[in-house]
Assembly symmetry: C2
Homo-oligomer: 291 residues x 2
């Protein structure tokens, strides 16, 4: 059994990005510049955005945090987005969702220039992904593909079962794993809350991608010997023995499933650390695409 | 066994569209106007475009055929597209593909305003389809959904196997059948040339959508009793006994498969006739969306 180590892989990717930035600098070229739009002062959102800004600084990117008050109007926020679209200094930007309730998240997302949409959430990027055209992939799916590539996990002709059809993980993974590409060329089954007999479907899978947010949902009897298991679940479980008061649980019962697997991601330390690395890769490619 | 009759259904849809156009006319509102862009004088392309133009006339739409010589440059053709994007009189338009070899089809497609892309080929429409946002669906998938709806075929919780991952049929059908909607909520398995043991996968399917263009590929042993079979294949087979010199064959061995089915589409007369009806529906909705 091989652990798909997201911490080591993401550190390696950051090192490669930092080297690429140093090359750009040495050549007198533009340094990647990521902006983040945050509305209000929600603690979790501040933490997430803070981590992204810090990651930018660590690899030598420029970054700009645009923080607006919670009472900003939808129209004013649209103007912020239009300004970012026009601003040639900004290569890519992210919207830290959710916005306050009086703002239609979807409306703001649709206003983002797809060429700067490094979160890969705009429909044009989703469509390009489906059509296998150049695009920004959403961070979590991109991180999973990167893990598969770097560990040289075989995918062609494999039965891949995706659990969960969310727009940010399950659905894009189902599209990506069937593409005529590597990673890809899997026979993909996308399962969800309406699926009957999920246990039997999983038991026949060569690759399982679990993204439903139900702690410990995937048990050993659902996994065949030699399977590859990717655990996207990150659920906080109250745990008084921890300083933070909680521990993180994945969708997979790791202890009983891992011994059966050829490859498996731990939680934490698997898919999670890959997402910010993906965002950095997208921002770097935003600059390269323009050049 | 119930035949999913595309001829009768498409005739019914055209009648409904004609009534809607009459209503628009009576109310003094804009009449839907579809344009088609044809380059060169390929016989098959002329036939297809001609059928679409005639279908428009039959339901009371306005239509414009823009025919350009085969030696038009890519830049000139882009100008044609930009003109159509700007022209408020044109509600939607289609590009009759393939264009001559010196023109990059993809480049022209990407220039189409997604709001006028009634063929549903632009990445923004593909992405909107995946995200279940309002969009133009590609004609063949839209026609299949319409047949399923009008015959009230149950889809929720069913195992749906799609054979073939083409960008215009297989892939969009796999996305549409999994959506949390009706038709939809299927557990979808998308299969293709790299799939192992396709026969066994099909034998477990409640719904089979065959779109690979291999005449008679789906045989009785691949279909379980009571299954729904949608045959998207349209292959011309030489047949001297026919006046045209050929007959049309689907991907399904109809005679042996049909007795096992709860519903099945014949070929010809199933999915085929639905595609032009879908194009008309898209054009009508292009007008309604603006209003």
């Amino acid at each position: 059994m091989v652990l798909l180590d997201g911490i080591a892989t993401s550190a390696q990717i950051r090192k490669e990005i930092a080297a690429a930035v140093a090359d750009l600098k040495a050549a007198g070229k533009k340094i990647p510049h990521l902006a983040a739009v945050l509305v209000g002062d929600n603690g979790a959102s501040l933490t997430y955005v803070g981590a992204k800004v810090k990651a930018c600084e660590d690899v030598g990117f420029r970054s700009t945090l645009i923080q607006k008050k919670a009472d900003i109007t939808e129209k004013e926020l649209l103007e912020v987005v239009y300004d970012l679209n026009r601003n040639a200094e900004i290569d890519g930007y992210i919207l830290q969702l959710p916005f306050p309730k009086h703002i239609d998240d979807q409306k703001i997302l649709l206003a983002v220039d797809p060429a700067k949409d490094v979160d890969g959430f705009h429909p044009e990027n989703v469509g390009r992904m489906a059509l296998n055209l150049p695009c920004f992939l959403p961070a979590t799916p991109a991180g999973i593909l990167e893990l598969i590539k770097r560990y040289e996990v075989k995918t062609e002709g494999k039965n891949c079962v995706v659990i969960g059809r969310s727009h940010i993980v399950g659905l894009p993974m189902s599209i990506l794993m069937q593409r005529n590409d590597y990673p890809g060329n899997c026979t993909v089954t996308l399962t969800h809350s309406k699926t009957k007999d999920l246990r039997a479907i999983c038991a026949d899978a060569d690759i399982i991608i679990a993204a439903i947010g139900k702690p410990g949902y995937v048990t050993a009897d659902m996994v065949k010997d030699g399977a590859v298991v990717i655990d996207v679940g990150i659920t906080r479980i109250p745990d008084p023995s921890k300083k933070s008061g909680f521990r993180i649980s994945g969708d997979v019962k790791f202890d009983e499933v891992a011994p059966r697997c050829s490859f498996i991601t731990p939680v934490p330390g698997g898919v999670g650390p890959m997402t910010i690395a993906s965002l950095l890769l997208n921002t770097l490619s935003a600059v390269k695409n323009k050049a």
